[in-house]
């Protein structure tokens, strides 16, 4: 029996729902797992069950495996991450928010003052007011990936992640085997046709790509159709299906839409922004034509200092 603690920090809950998307095999896994703390499903409390213990000490029971989803945005989340690390032998960062900051780390392009101003003084339905500050917990200066705060043993990226990968990781842990994801790109899993040359200039996805409904292997690569797709610089793994016998198709491509990079960089230390610019050049696309390049190419990975406020440019 393996003891498991789960926490969610700066989250949307999608990775927790992904765990349920394991489906019926989840019921087979459950007898090997003992959940000791998981706020989304269970009422174990931080400060005792009637809330009378020391409010400064977050109680997380000891566990063999700790799972954290979400990045770290405020002091409380930092303390929870520290308590999880202290009490869990192996710590898993689940999903791209925990691994890289995720979509919320797009906020790292702005200062906290920018955020406050927009929300409390520049919103059409809101009566302009001072920023609330009475007894409110401090936010950190930016969104942090979990490994910027505590050591992480195992990463399962994705926005959300894929249920198959969760099963693979948990099974490896139960069997005492290592778990890592291969250094492959989304393109390595993608069935579309590639001719290594773009046929048109860059265009925004404002109309359908060319495809025949129900088919993927007859469709031309999005980038070669001039529609920017982050497949070349994004880790593979999204397309695995819990249903056997399904064709392996990256999940956004399955919806006839281009990849936006939610599984993060292919390998640690890679710079997808730079790598994507060269991938575009190699098929004859002018990367300078891409609107809003910095936010597009860092959409899920703005933690770890990849996105930060730019100094105001003179004359703007």
């Amino acid at each position: 029996m393996v003891k498991v603690a789960e926490e969610w920090l700066n989250i949307c809950g999608g990775c927790e729902v992904t765990v349920l998307d394991i489906g019926e095999p989840l019921l087979d896994l459950l007898p090997s797992l003992e959940f000791v703390h998981i706020p989304v499903l269970m009422d174990h409390k931080y400060f005792g069950q009637t809330g009378e213990d020391d409010p400064n000490v977050i109680q997380i029971p000891e566990a063999d495996v700790g799972i954290i989803s979400g990045g770290v945005r405020n002091e409380k989340e930092k303390h929870v991450a520290e308590a999880m690390r202290k009490n869990c032998k192996t710590l898993i960062a689940l999903g791209s928010c925990a691994c890289y900051g995720g979509i919320p780390a797009l906020a790292n392009m702005y200062t906290l003052d920018d955020l406050y101003k927009k929300v409390y003084r520049e919103s059409v339905t809101t009566e302009a007011s001072d920023t609330p500050k009475d007894n409110l917990p401090p936010l950190l200066d930016r969104v942090y990936a979990v490994d910027e705060v505590v050591n992480v043993d195992l990463y399962i990226p994705g926005c959300p992640t894929n249920p198959v990968l969760v099963v693979e990781a948990l099974t490896a842990l139960l069997e005492g085997k290592p778990f890592t994801l291969p250094e492959r790109s989304v393109c390595d899993d993608c069935p579309v046709k590639r001719e290594k040359k773009a046929e048109v200039a860059i265009k925004r996805p404002l109309q359908d790509a060319e495809f025949t409904p129900g088919q993927y292997d007859t469709m031309r690569c999005f980038n070669e159709q001039g529609i920017i797709c982050l497949g070349p610089v994004t880790k593979s793994g999204c397309g695995k299906s819990v249903t056997e016998g399904e064709q392996l198709v990256p999940r956004c491509v399955k919806g006839y839409m281009p990849c936006r990079g939610c599984f993060g960089p292919i390998r640690k230390g890679a710079n997808p922004l730079v790598d994507m610019m060269s991938a575009m050049s190699s098929i004859g696309l002018d990367a300078k034509q891409v609107d809003d390049r910095r936010a597009l190419l860092n959409r899920y990975i703005g933690g770890q200092k990849r996105l930060r406020p730019l100094p105001a440019r003179p004359g703007r």
Partner: protein, 481 residues
């Protein structure tokens, strides 16, 4: 002596909150707060992005109702680009929305709230959860896990990605449904419909009668309601007109772009989370339990209250029975659960109907669009309430301004009021235990709050301001955090 109880984290809800209850020397509640602790900032960082990218960014506001944000954003895009999606594109959006609803309502009823009723509000915390239900009722647990997952499987087949979807685009839906896929999905939808029928029957036989006394007392407040109805007055969660109902049952309809006339948002110095109120009523904003002002609720109970009827036969039968028993508008907070199951049945019937609609496999699902400077408001009914996305673009179609009001935020004031009502009635003369504190949490769970959604804008410790009144309703003291 006086002391403070901290229920943290509030569990089996989506997102983060804690409840702080202060007891006076006699052990009665002198004060309570719901603190929501989380930050996002979507309204700021959506600015500067190409507007057609927003349906793929705002989904991460919530992983439990990503389809709601996705579709509201796609509809706001339609309005910004001035385009009407082809009929099949709209039907595929509507179908996706209904499938997502079945998945979420099953999730909430069985995984989050159900344990309070199936295992009992005072059962040990180690079994007062879905894992406890799985141990006590393994056959039901198997059905639950399977049927919730069928929703995800259907969405995967129809759209490629069930969580944080991508197929809702300006002008329609990017992926037509093939006949093969339709045939694969239809039996799954039929199975979920059978499960929906089972669920409401099970609840009406085994749960609601047993807890009727709790339903009549726990977290009860008196408010208005906001929801969406089709032109013919039937409940519609994808498209229609907005309806705001006063506590006395009188109501006004309005279009999406008129929302700024009807809804205002108050900022309290002690809360990061804003408090929407019915600006149109002209009575201001007050969370006083005896004489609330400007307070309305959203989510299942609100939608059932504003609807004249249901568009599908089985849901209509349930709706009639509910209305006959509880009247219009029904105010009892725990009836949110009952209303949720009526909706589950409606969406299950609706998705089967749509899958049998010959137009659903049309390949005409999307119209092309051209950037322009414009403002567009898109709304859907998210499971937790009316969801409003309001975008403004420049001539290149880059976002200049964004305003979002989400389902749970509408319920900010009502949740605070229900918690205050529950805490002050349940905790007397210092007598409390884990079961009583869990009942305080149950008054929150009824609203199925999604605090990930609600805190899309800013982080915060927020919420309940408590006014202590004497027996004549005179204000003695105001507490706030």
């Amino acid at each position: 002596m006086a002391k403070t109880l901290t229920i943290a984290p509030v569990s089996r809800i989506e997102g983060h909150a804690k409840v702080t209850i202060q007891l006076d020397d006699a052990g009665n509640v002198s004060d309570s707060f719901v603190n929501v602790v989380e930050l996002r900032g979507f309204e700021k960082f959506c600015i500067g992005r190409p507007v057609e990218e927003l349906p793929r960014i705002v989904t991460s506001i919530c992983g439990v109702c990503p389809w709601s944000h996705h579709l509201a954003s796609a509809k706001a895009n339609d309005a910004v680009y001035g385009v009407e999606p082809p009929s099949a594109g709209k039907k595929l959006r509507d179908l996706s929305n209904s499938i997502a609803y079945t998945e979420e309502h099953i999730l909430h009823f069985y995984f989050l709230a159900g344990a309070d009723f199936v295992m009992g509000p005072s059962a040990a915390y180690a079994v007062r959860n879905v894992i406890g239900i799985a141990g006590a009722h393994p056959d039901i647990a198997k059905k639950v896990v399977r049927n919730r997952h069928l929703g995800a499987r259907m969405l995967e087949i129809i759209s490629g990605k069930s969580i944080h979807p991508v197929t809702g685009v300006p002008g329609g839906y990017s992926k037509p449904l093939t006949e093969d896929e339709r045939q694969k999905v239809l039996p799954m939808a039929e199975e979920v419909l059978e499960f929906a029928k089972f669920t409401i029957k099970f609840a009406k036989e085994n749960i609601f009668p047993k807890y009727l006394d709790t339903v009549k007392t726990l977290g009860v407040i008196n408010t208005g309601f906001l929801g969406t109805v089709a032109e013919d007055g039937s409940l519609n969660c994808y498209d229609g007109k907005l309806q705001m109902m006063k506590p006395d049952g009188s109501f006004e309809d309005f279009t999406y772009d008129q929302y700024t006339d009807f809804i205002g948002e108050m900022v309290q110095p002690w809360s990061y989370l804003k408090f929407p109120y019915a600006k149109k009523w002209g009575e201001g904003f007050d969370m006083n339990l005896e004489a609330p002002k400007g307070i309305y609720r959203t989510n299942t109970l609100a939608r059932i209250n504003v609807a004249d009827k249901m568009a599908t036969p089985l849901a209509q039968e349930e709706f009639t029975e509910f209305r006959n028993q509880f009247g219009r508008p029904a105010q009892l907070t725990l009836l949110y659960h009952w209303a949720r199951l009526i909706e589950l049945l409606y969406h299950a019937e609706h998705m089967v109907d749509l899958l049998n609609d010959s137009e659903i496999t049309s390949t005409e699902t999307r119209s092309a669009v051209t950037p322009r400077a414009a403002r567009g408001v898109g709304c859907v009914e998210a499971p937790r309430g009316t969801l409003i996305h309001d975008y403004e673009t420049d001539e290149k179609g880059m976002v200049k301004n964004v305003n979002l009001i989400v389902g749970t935020t509408h319920n900010n004031a009502p949740i605070n009021m229900s918690v205050k009502q529950a805490a002050t009635t349940l905790i007397k003369n210092g007598a409390y235990d884990e079961g009583i504190l869990n009942q305080v949490e149950m008054s929150i769970r009824a609203y199925d709050p999604c605090l990930s959604c609600a805190t899309h804008n800013l982080d915060g410790t927020i919420p309940v301001k408590v006014d202590i009144l004497d027996h004549k309703g005179q204000l003695l003291k105001t507490y706030k955090n």
